[in-house]
Symmetry: C2
Subunit: 206 residues, 2 copies
């Protein structure tokens, strides 16, 4: 019934940062194939007062490393916000993944009720660790990933929802979708377990 | 160190659906103020092969009720996808919130390792409840909220990140940001507790 804060953050960040890296590789290839200066994509925005692609990627890596740093008490690497080529952004994503993977599960010592303190330019924010992850980190992290993806879609880059979601950890399937998405089939006892649960449920309802 | 699946889903959905509702109210007002047919906004897309605003809102409500239904075993209300005015979408958001709020914490009986089965048009997907929430539900839920928000921003609707995040549950603050965002100040023992933790950490490092 319960999930560790580690499980909600570290592997989720690594999975999505890998997806971001794959999406950004497709974007660079698309720019080259269409003879577009890669900087045009990196500086694209959905509205004049929204951040461009380059900042969406930077902020997403900062969200991830900042969260892992606060939950473990381990200082995160500092990246200069001058990273502004596709190659530099890939390096930034790789460094973020390396920092997160270097933190052991046991180092995520913050309890759900522990206080998290976050300095921003005009003050300091306080949350419980749980509220920080649920109400601040995850919405922001996915916001910037989705916006990066939307900027690329809006600019004609051929990425799809499957690139955004990646190969969902632990997901298996039956039916036509197995071949289409290259998914594993479920272990036999997965289906048996579900069948048993459903039967039990039906019995309870009678 | 651990968080219930309930805590990761039910209140998170309610909070974000309320934010979505507020954002959609601003959008309707913006259309009226600028003499734009509201259907123009509802049918706007960021790319020709992406879903328009109306579908983003519909899918987001479906993500939320589908997840709560699977974690509790309680059937979710069915909404017709003909809901296609601002008023109908607000009604759909309200009905989704009502369904989710009607489920008690104790009804979220799925354990993190329980199997979740999800039928899609071309097969069936299987995950552990934890992988389902982390790798499927939350990325999809935030994807559709962010895309709805981005469609509105792209169409000149004056919403901001603060509307997207809402008043983050449990967040308090010190500094200029308190007045700016109408935030509560932290209880005294929050700061004391953090100070104590930090001192303990510094001591350990020496």
């Amino acid at each position: 019934m319960t999930v560790e804060l580690y499980r909600l953050t570290s592997p989720v960040f690594v999975h999505n940062l890998k997806n971001l890296s794959a999406v950004m590789k497709i974007a660079l290839k698309s720019a080259r194939d269409r003879d577009i200066d890669p900087q045009v994509l990196l500086n694209s925005r959905l509205a004049p007062d929204m951040f461009p692609l380059v900042r969406q990627v930077q902020i997403m890596t900062d969200n991830a490393k900042g969260c892992c740093s606060r939950l473990t008490g381990i200082e995160a690497p500092v990246f200069a916000d001058g990273d502004d080529t596709f190659a530099q952004l890939q390096q930034r994503i790789t460094s973020t993944i390396r920092f997160i993977k270097g933190l052991k599960r046991s180092q995520f010592a913050a309890s759900a009720d522990d206080s998290i303190e976050m300095k921003v330019p005009i003050g300091t924010l306080y949350f419980s660790a749980q509220d920080y992850v649920n109400g601040w980190v995850l919405p922001n992290f996915y916001f910037h990933f989705t916006t990066a993806y939307n900027i690329l879609r809006h600019n004609g880059v051929e990425v799809g929802k499957a690139d955004f979601l990646g190969l969902v950890p632990g997901m298996s399937a039956t039916g036509k979708i197995v071949k289409m998405m290259g998914l594993p089939q479920p272990k036999k006892n997965t289906i048996k377990k579900i069948g048993k649960k459903l039967r039990r449920k039906e019995k309870n309802e009678n």
